[in-house]
């Protein structure tokens, strides 16, 4: 049998505060993965400032792409197609990557493939797990998203549950701010909670009526804030370590219980997690042991591929490319692009 030609995707990601580019072979092999993080700048402001993120993207994007090509040992002539995140995300930030990717595709006469950012997060699992193939269930948890998804085939996603209010990562950031840990809240809570008692305070596990798979995190967040207020009023010493451990436990519990319900009811034997909050150690170990108990094969990207990167866009872009997805030079950023939606 004749060997099929390798497909090399140049992927560009600029949906939030990381300027990233990668070269990915056949959707699974990362030849390079360059990330320029702006986190130090945004920490000054206690969160991502969209206009500043956009300004940094335009300054950093060319060196990031050039380094990705150089690290991969390829030139643009070797690239099969250009993939770029076109949503969801910050519109001004997305537009930098989209305009740049379109211009490169035009100048080199390469196909252009727009990629959904969250689908990219899910595809991060393909990179390190050659055996992972659809169908599988995926739990996507990040600063802006909390989704329970069925990946029915490559590029075919069915949203089963979603958050009704705050994203899980957003709740982490808000609680971290309230207890004075600062931004970004996720990693800081994760670290501190390791020393705390996760059952010191029992916070409510919110259920959304008639939507058993949906999440709600604003209730847990409010309960935490109320608890802090009560401690202040009673002039009690607040045990921050136990508090964040209990908060994290409530969030993890809500996530894991719904993911397990989905794999049980759909009779699925594979569960993948994805997104920035998927690097949370408590979530990883809770979901791993739940999977082991239920005979489910568990997949997660290594922490470096959980946060925003372009390698995951290169993987998702590959599967879109081989399905025949092509975008035109009028591709626009779609800040509220829905998972599974094709624009």
């Amino acid at each position: 049998m004749e060997k099929q030609e390798d497909v090399l995707i140049l992927a560009i990601e600029s949906s939030c505060d990381e300027t990233a580019a990668a070269v990915v072979k056949n959707g699974r092999v990362v030849l390079s993965n360059i990330i320029n993080s702006q986190i130090d700048i945004h920490t000054l402001y206690g969160g991502v400032v969209p206009e500043i993120a956009s300004r940094k993207h335009i300054e950093n994007i060319n060196p990031v792409i050039e380094l990705a090509l150089k690290d991969a040992g390829v030139t643009l002539d070797d690239i099969t197609a250009v993939a770029v995140t076109y949503g969801p995300g910050l519109v001004g930030a997305l537009l930098v990557g989209v305009a740049e990717a379109k211009a490169i595709a035009f100048a080199k006469n390469k196909p252009l493939v727009g990629v959904h950012h969250i689908e990219g997060h899910i595809c991060a699992n393909y990179i390190e797990h050659p055996d992972l193939e659809p169908p599988f269930a995926a739990l996507v948890v990040s600063g802006g998203h909390t989704h329970l998804v069925m990946v029915n085939d490559y590029g075919e996603y069915e949203i089963v549950g979603r958050t009704r209010d705050d994203a899980a990562g957003e709740a982490f950031d808000k609680v971290a701010r309230a207890v004075g840990l600062g931004y970004p809240g996720g990693p800081k809570i994760d670290r501190l909670a390791k020393e705390g008692n996760p059952h010191a305070v029992e916070f409510p596990r919110a259920h959304v009526e008639d939507s058993p798979y949906d999440f709600s995190f604003s209730g847990i967040k409010s309960a935490v804030l109320n608890y802090i207020n009560q401690c202040e009023m009673k002039k009690e010493q607040l045990n921050k370590t136990d508090l964040v451990a209990s908060f994290q436990n409530a969030v993890v519990d809500a996530l894991v219980s719904r993911a397990m319900m989905l794999v049980r009811e759909r009779n699925i034997d594979k569960l993948a997690i994805a997104g920035g909050v998927a690097s949370n150690s408590a979530l990883r170990s809770a979901i791993q042991s739940a999977c082991e108990q239920n005979g489910i094969k568990y997949y997660s990207p290594s922490p470096g591929l959980c946060t925003d990167n372009a390698a995951m866009i290169g993987s998702a872009g590959y599967y879109e490319y081989i399905k025949g997805v092509r975008h035109g030079y009028d591709l626009n950023a779609v800040p509220n692009l829905k998972l599974g939606e094709r624009v």
């Binding site: 335009i58 060319n62 035009f106």
Partner: protein, 239 residues
């Protein structure tokens, strides 16, 4: 030398190809569609119409601002992406200078004005000398309607306004200006990539072309978050 110029600093989207001394193509639209939807299709269209291939381009020129933050970034990223892909140098052309060039050869003052919202204008004041070289009276700036009007009244010379700042501040000028003035007509008052291309050629002749990596918009205005942080820090130092 063949220059591709792009301009997307305000509502107008414009692309042009200048081949030595010939303006091979210019495509300008002033319509509500976003630059993300229009700019690259317009570039593709003029390439197609003029049998130009991307490899034929020697220099990529962009209008770097001031102007709409997002609009500038779409134009600059488009230019940077092409320059990266083709391995070509770029020309970073000040938007207000390019606008002033639309009035080549006038003996009056030229005031380029762009609407910067909140009763402010991005602006600069220019004149052409006897050899028809363009000079600016000062650095470009972000001024309130009052500040710019006072400055022009002080100069007391006849001035032609060019740019979309006229739609925003025209009435204010009519009431407060004491010097003679005129608003440029529609066919020259918008930003044009042809003017950007022409100034890029002058930069190339003077050896002022730059690497694509270094090109960024010249916003003339810090982001709101930066302004607020600076104000807060100032208040803390004063306290």
């Amino acid at each position: 030398m063949r220059i591709l110029a792009v301009e997307s600093s305000a509502v107008t989207a414009s692309a042009a190809i200048l081949t030595d001394d010939i303006m091979t193509a210019e495509y300008t639209i002033n319509y509500k569609k976003t630059h993300s939807q229009t700019l690259l299709p317009m570039i593709a269209e003029i390439f197609k119409m003029t049998d130009t291939k991307p490899d034929d381009i020697d220099v990529i020129a962009v209008s770097v601002g001031p102007g709409s933050f997002t609009g500038l970034r779409i134009g600059v990223a488009t230019g940077k992406g092409m320059a990266l892909a083709l391995g070509k140098k770029m020309a970073a052309v000040p938007t207000l200078d390019a606008m002033a060039y639309n009035l080549y050869g006038t003996d009056k003052l030229i005031c380029s004005v762009m609407d910067a919202r909140r009763q402010h204008l991005y602006n600069n004041i220019y004149y052409f000398d006897e050899e028809n070289s363009l000079h600016k009276l000062r650095q470009q700036s972000l001024s309130s309607y009052e500040e710019l009007t006072a400055e022009l009244n002080e100069l007391g010379k006849e001035v032609i306004f060019i740019g979309d700042g006229v739609s925003a501040a025209g009435r204010f000028f009519e009431e407060k200006l004491t010097c003679r003035y005129e608003f440029a007509p529609a066919h020259i008052t918008t930003q044009r990539a042809a003017s950007v291309a022409f100034l890029a050629k002058k930069q190339a002749e003077r050896g002022e072309l730059v690497d694509a990596a270094a090109v960024k918009p010249d916003y003339l205005r810090p982001s709101q978050a930066e302004r607020e942080l600076a104000e807060k820090q100032e208040a803390e130092t004063d306290a």
